[in-house]
């Protein structure tokens, strides 16, 4: 009898993913997806190349470029540890195939490696998606040649394995340490620890130094002052050394050797730990019975608050709220989103742009405008995480909704408003608070808050509609739904929409800056009016068009 290998375990999942993509991605969708992917990569590549091209002309350029690379890789590494930790809980302890695999005569090390690969893929694909165009920009700006991107990817592979081993080992220990507690308590500990680590990291890096007034010259000196925790023992440093060595034509194999040998050693150590702790952890993870009182304070408060709402809609809302707050994979990430937003606001507050209570108008306006783009991106990511899976999460219970006398259109609209209202409020509050901190002018406040409200409504409608067209009814974990074909396509559409809005709004913002610079009065000229009306029409059309398509699809949906 031939012992089952790693590929035997991974093959059904790989084939499932490929079949899912082929099924979802019919020719039209595949073309749209390809166009969106190219657009997204183009935007990231363009922005990265612009900065690196400027730096490549400076004497200190390569050093500063490495500092940026170090900072980016440290950011990637912290996100990767966290996302691997969350993914490991699903793949190692909650996945549906585990009973079958644990009962099979499968070598424990092979089981470990296959689950490790699965965890790493789930947790890292988005990082790879962002890293690729940035690496390409480094290659072009510093003349790395056509082999630079493949070389960078080869360096990235062991770099991705390290946080996967660390994340899954941490989860293995946590599951064994907290056996009697519920999984959600466990994730609470994880979320708080991660938040602490994140705040610490942001305070160490101090990215606000990049925004000191004084133009590009000042920015380069700020870059020099940037503290990145990238010592000689950090894998982030090995990867950045490997890439910069290639770009600088330095023949030093040490970083490559360090990356690969450390990854191999980590896998062996992780495998050893897995061999010792997995069986007990797996058994303990299944012993924690869940109890949620029907009369809990939250449940009662929500029921009282929604008393005036019609019966079906109220119970539907209550059901969604209960499912959300009782599912650790849902609210665990909500805590992280809240913390990320808090860190973001703290950093805006720390921006050293005000000297003696005054700040250059150009810089403030630029940052308010950049802030708009960043807030929009964060809101699109939140929509991908929480709105896109809304229909998929009805999943196997869709039989109930379809056999009950409930109009699928009202179900769809209810889902829209339930997610759009809190998301729009969140967007408006973040923008208002950061605008107030930046002492933005009334015009910039009007533009940024108006835009964020319109964009959030459009992004929510898009997310829900993409989720209805590409549902994942059989998904094991809500956190994995956004990484499906539809989720990625939504994210790219939302980012493209945001890019279009910002491009259109650059016209009135530039006009406003010119007028303020030369002391002219700034009024509603035809070009300003057309640009603002264009954004309004674009967002409203996206919202209404998406909702109509979504409602139509909802009626046709056959679970």
């Amino acid at each position: 009898m031939r012992a089952p290998g790693v590929w035997t375990v991974l093959a059904p999942k790989c084939r499932g993913v490929v079949a899912g993509w082929l099924r979802d991605g019919e020719i039209g969708s595949a073309a749209l997806f390809a166009a969106l992917a190219l657009g997204f990569w183009g935007i990231v590549f363009g922005a990265a190349w612009r900065v690196l091209h400027y730096l490549s002309g400076l004497e200190m350029g390569p050093l500063l470029a490495q500092k940026i690379l170090d900072a980016m890789l440290v950011g990637f590494a912290s996100i990767l540890v966290l996302s691997n930790l969350i993914a490991a809980l699903s793949t190692f302890f909650l996945a549906r195939d585990l009973d079958l695999l644990v009962a099979a005569p499968l070598n424990w090390f092979r089981l470990y490696v296959s689950k490790l690969v699965e965890t790493a893929v789930h947790a890292s694909w988005m990082i790879v998606l962002v890293a690729l165009p940035v690496f390409a920009a480094y290659g072009v700006a510093f003349h790395g040649g056509p082999l630079f991107v493949p070389v960078a990817l080869a360096g990235l592979m062991p770099f991705l394995i390290l946080p996967a081993v660390v994340g899954s080992a941490l989860m293995l220990v946590l599951v064994n340490v907290f056996p009697a507690r519920r999984t959600r308590d466990l994730l609470g500990v994880v979320a708080i620890a991660a938040a602490g680590g994140l705040v610490l990291m942001v305070r160490v890096v101090r990215p606000e130094l990049l925004f000191q007034p004084g133009g590009m010259g000042q920015i380069t000196s700020s870059l020099q002052a940037l503290h990145v925790p990238a010592g000689p023992f950090m894998p982030t440093r090995w990867l950045s050394d490997m890439l910069m060595n290639w770009l600088g034509r330095v023949a030093d194999p040490l970083p490559v050797v360090l990356l690969y040998t450390t990854a191999a050693a980590f896998i062996i150590m992780g495998g050893w730990l897995h061999g010792r702790l997995f069986r007990s952890g797996y058994s303990l993870a299944r012993e924690g019975a869940e109890r949620f009182g029907a009369n809990s304070v939250g449940s009662r408060a929500a029921a009282i608050l929604l008393r005036g709402v019609p019966t079906a809609r109220r119970e539907f809302l209550l059901k969604d709220l209960r499912l959300f707050f009782r599912d650790p994979t849902q609210w665990g990430q909500l805590i992280l989103v809240v913390l990320l937003v808090a860190v973001y606001v703290i950093n805006v507050r720390s921006l050293p742009i005000f000297s003696h209570g005054r700040a250059p108008l150009f810089l403030v306006t630029l940052i308010v405008f950049l802030n708009l783009g960043l807030s929009g991106f964060v809101l699109a990511a939140i929509a991908a995480r929480f709105v896109f899976p809304a229909i998929s999460l009805e999943g196997r219970q869709m039989w109930l909704l379809r056999s009950a006398p409930v109009d699928p259109r009202s179900l769809f609209r209810s889902k829209f408003w339930m997610t759009a209202v809190p998301l729009t409020l969140l967007g408006a509050v973040i923008t208002l608070v950061t605008d107030l901190m930046l002492r933005a002018s009334a015009f910039m406040m009007f533009v940024s808050i108006g835009t964020i409200i319109l964009f959030t409504l459009a992004a929510t409608a898009l997310a829900l509609t993409f989720g209805t067209y590409y549902p994942r009814f059989g998904s094991e974990n809500a956190a994995q739904i956004p990484s499906s074909f539809g989720g990625v396509a939504f994210m790219m559409s939302a980012v493209s929409l945001l890019g279009l809005i910002i491009t259109i709004e650059a016209v009135p913002v530039a006009g406003y800056l010119r007028a303020r610079q030369f002391g002219d009065t700034f009024g509603l000229s035809p070009s300003v009016g057309a640009a603002l009306a264009g954004v309004l029409v674009l967002c409203v059309a996206t919202t209404i068009g998406s909702l109509r398509l979504g409602v139509r699809r909802m009626e046709e949906l056959e679970p």
């Binding site: 869940e290 119970e315 209550l318 499912l323 009782r326 219970q397 909704l401 379809r402």
Partner: protein
């Protein structure tokens, strides 16, 4: 109560239900039998309004389903073959949610929920999340949910799977009592003894088409099978694997 006329359902190029015509009289417990993949579940899901027929028509109580879907659905209690419920809701919350989907709430619903939970011996678990229920307990909960809004027609797919002997007995008694009060039950099952014992009429479906229909004496007469059991009639109509083929597989 139910009138299916030349009903067709295709999934891509595969025809699951092929010009199926069937009449289920009101006040009967009607058995719907067939081998795996014969089209039973697809037909029942179309009757429940979950799937849209490719062709043909479905009338419930004289009303075409796709004309007034909400009114038709309000009359039906559907019990699917697999009891998927929201894992993070308690049993009581799930029943309250289902009642609300049918526009019902208040003290009367709470009383009915308690009665149904007690009937299926789920009372002690009413405030536990269904994620901690066994398969049989979930099955009981789904059956209870189909009765919570007082339907006129029950469409039930494989109700006995996972039920303990007490639960199975309660269910049989419940269906008979429901039919005695004028209700109609359309039940698919693979437990042929149950079907033979309980059902007023039986239809056998194979490859998406009805191959036999009637009361037990009518089925025996139709297939000229003397005093044969329903199992023998079913195997003869649907085709069974000959014993020597089983030996070949086991000895291989």
């Amino acid at each position: 109560m139910i009138q299916l006329t030349r009903l067709v359902k295709q999934f891509g190029r595969f025809t699951a239900v092929d010009r199926l015509t069937l009449t289920v009289p009101a006040g009967t417990l009607y058995g719907f039998l067939g081998p795996n993949g014969a089209g039973k579940t697809t037909t029942m899901r179309m009757i429940a309004g979950i799937l849209r027929p490719t062709a043909g028509s479905i009338e419930i109580g004289g009303i075409e389903t796709w004309r007034q879907p909400q009114a038709i659905k309000a009359m039906i209690g559907y019990i699917p073959d697999r009891p998927f419920v929201y894992d993070k809701l308690t049993g009581a919350e799930f029943l309250r949610f289902v009642a609300a989907l049918y526009g019902q709430e208040g003290a009367a619903v709470e009383r009915r929920m308690d009665e149904l939970l007690e009937l299926f011996e789920l009372g002690p678990w009413r405030d536990e999340v269904t994620g901690s229920y066994s398969h049989g307990m979930r099955q009981k909960l789904v059956i209870a949910s189909a009765f919570v809004h007082r339907p006129r027609l029950i469409v039930v797919d494989e109700p006995m799977v996972g039920l303990d002997p007490v639960g199975a007995r309660v269910l049989k008694d419940l269906f008979r009592a429901f039919v005695r009060r004028g209700g109609t039950v359309l039940m698919s099952t693979h437990t042929l003894e149950v079907a033979e014992l309980m059902c007023d009429r039986i239809a056998i479906i194979a490859r998406g088409r009805i191959v036999a229909e009637g009361t037990m004496p009518e089925l025996r007469a139709e297939t000229a099978s003397g005093n044969e059991s329903l199992e023998d009639i079913f195997l003869r109509l649907t085709g069974a694997r000959p014993p020597h083929a089983l030996d070949a597989v086991l000895d291989a």
